[in-house]
Symmetry: C2
Subunit: 310 residues, 2 copies
């Protein structure tokens, strides 16, 4: 199952999910992820460690976002950055960096970039458009569509600026920073989050028309959550100076964390047969991806599998 | 006049234009740039040199844009990338790189990134939104708003990917590439293009309400064209290995080129007293910014002042 999901080179999701879902005979039916399927399970509260990392990323962002005039620019940017539902991806980036021996500060700009770039994507997917009927639960808009569109457009370059500007010639980390930028551009771009958003709208429209097409559904969490978390964990490992083996192990781990998060947290509240078993299978694969790391340290990263259950 | 426009540190537009236009007592009235003012002047056709650079950037982009499935992603990206009105900024980036002794290939990824990121901004400013009435001449849309929104969202990370991925450890150019990324994030972001787009809508709405506020107008070309061209020329100089003096000289030059381009090409067809004189003053300042460069090479860059007149 792991090879089927990851492809022969072990790179999470890039081979399997970049092809047209309708023409992919290699996808085993047992790993289908229904978009609107939640798994009923008792919640575990996020641990203090994860909450502390989230708080640190938020503090970093609050300090970084310019409070330059005019307020019409800085206020919506502050609002949309922190209004988006919290993602586990930025915190996973920090934890992955620490697991490979890096310091928290080495991953913080990448974690902040991941947070702000994802928040911009959330703002744009909630924009009311003339050809995109309201297919999700209505969202409260603090600003009009024009300001929310432009603010999202300003947030993405700002995220990349935070990361590119963290280059420190004294540390000689330029190449790591550039590699992390490429990772994030791919996860956020037209073969990543944007592709997932497109599939999600198609899927939700097909449900509305009572012509639900589950094939589309498989790809939404892979693109919107699986690949985002895979990228986040890989970036942490890259910036922390991990080996190629560690980077790819954490990429696989992140992919499963994201898929589980998509199914369990964003699932939508309905229970579906087999979903619980799929989540359990994914947890096993996630833990397997952490084999070979320092056993004394691995629990700090693995605990996200419980922390992200609610 | 030059100091008034550029600020005491010589960095084009960053000091002067980041403040609220309504509260800026330092702006001399003689440098006001009316948004919708064109200067009637016989056209000079772009020279073969500039056309050749444009063609090379376009070929680079055509090769770079993925033709991966599904067509719903790659077709709109191709279309919107090349549908935007041509900008002189990417070609200026290449020419600036050559002026400081760099090779054309060193600037090509940055030029391509500038092209695609600006094209995404054009796509988003043409999106029909419920709170943004049609204030510009109507634009033909090849795709619906949902696809055009998402495609623009994919184009920006792709532009940064092109640039970040051009890092070549053998050349040791990582720090230059990172510096160029920071330059572009600033020119494209909430203090750059996005700010200009916001001002432009305010200005066009005020004209429509017959309460034209010329103070807003000053900022539109500074943000949308002046700073974009300043960034492009500075990026070319950075990537070509220019000195700090050369980088700042070319930044000033680019700023004036962009301002002239904004006034003359995008002006809107109306003639206004004083505009022609302002353009001539700007040309002089632009040429002054090129003092100190190799006289034998400078004409190749200065010729854009004629080439961009139509």
């Amino acid at each position: 199952m792991e090879q089927a999901l990851l492809g022969s080179n072990g790179r999470a999701a890039t081979t399997l999910f970049n092809v047209n879902p309708k023409s992919n005979p290699r996808r085993p039916s047992s790993v289908r992820m229904p978009v609107a399927t939640a798994v009923a399970k008792p919640c575990t509260r996020p641990s203090g460690r994860w909450e502390a990392i989230h708080a640190e990323i938020e503090a970093h962002l609050k300090k970084a976002i310019p409070v330059k005039p005019p307020p019409v620019v800085s206020e919506p940017m502050h609002h949309l950055t922190f209004a988006a539902p919290q993602s586990t991806a930025p915190a996973l980036c920090v934890a992955a960096c620490e697991l490979v021996g890096g310091g928290r500060d080495q991953a913080m700009p990448a974690a902040a970039a991941l947070h702000i770039i994802r928040a911009a994507a959330v703002a744009h997917e909630n924009l009311p458009l003339t050809d995109r009927p309201e297919i999700r639960p209505p969202v409260a808009h603090a600003f009009g569509p024009h300001v929310e569109l432009m603010t999202g457009d300003g947030m993405v370059p700002f995220g990349f600026e935070l990361l590119a500007g963290s280059d420190d010639p004294a540390r000689g980390n330029s190449e790591r920073v550039l590699r992390a930028i490429v990772e994030i551009t791919r996860a956020a771009g037209s073969q990543g989050t944007v592709y997932g958003q497109y599939h999600e709208v198609e899927y939700l429209l097909s449900r509305r028309r009572d012509r639900r097409d589950p094939e589309w559904a498989d790809h939404v969490w892979a693109k919107k959550e699986g690949e985002l978390h895979a990228c986040a964990a890989a970036c942490g490992a890259i910036l922390g100076g991990g080996t190629e083996e560690e980077i790819e192990g954490l990429r696989r781990y992140g992919f499963y964390v994201g898929m589980i998060r998509g199914m369990v947290v964003h699932g939508g509240g309905r229970r579906e047969d087999g979903a619980m078993k799929t989540v359990e299978d994914m947890k096993k694969l996630a833990l397997k991806a952490l084999h070979g790391f320092d056993e004394g340290k691995v629990e700090a990263v693995a605990s996200i599998l419980d922390a992200n259950m609610c």
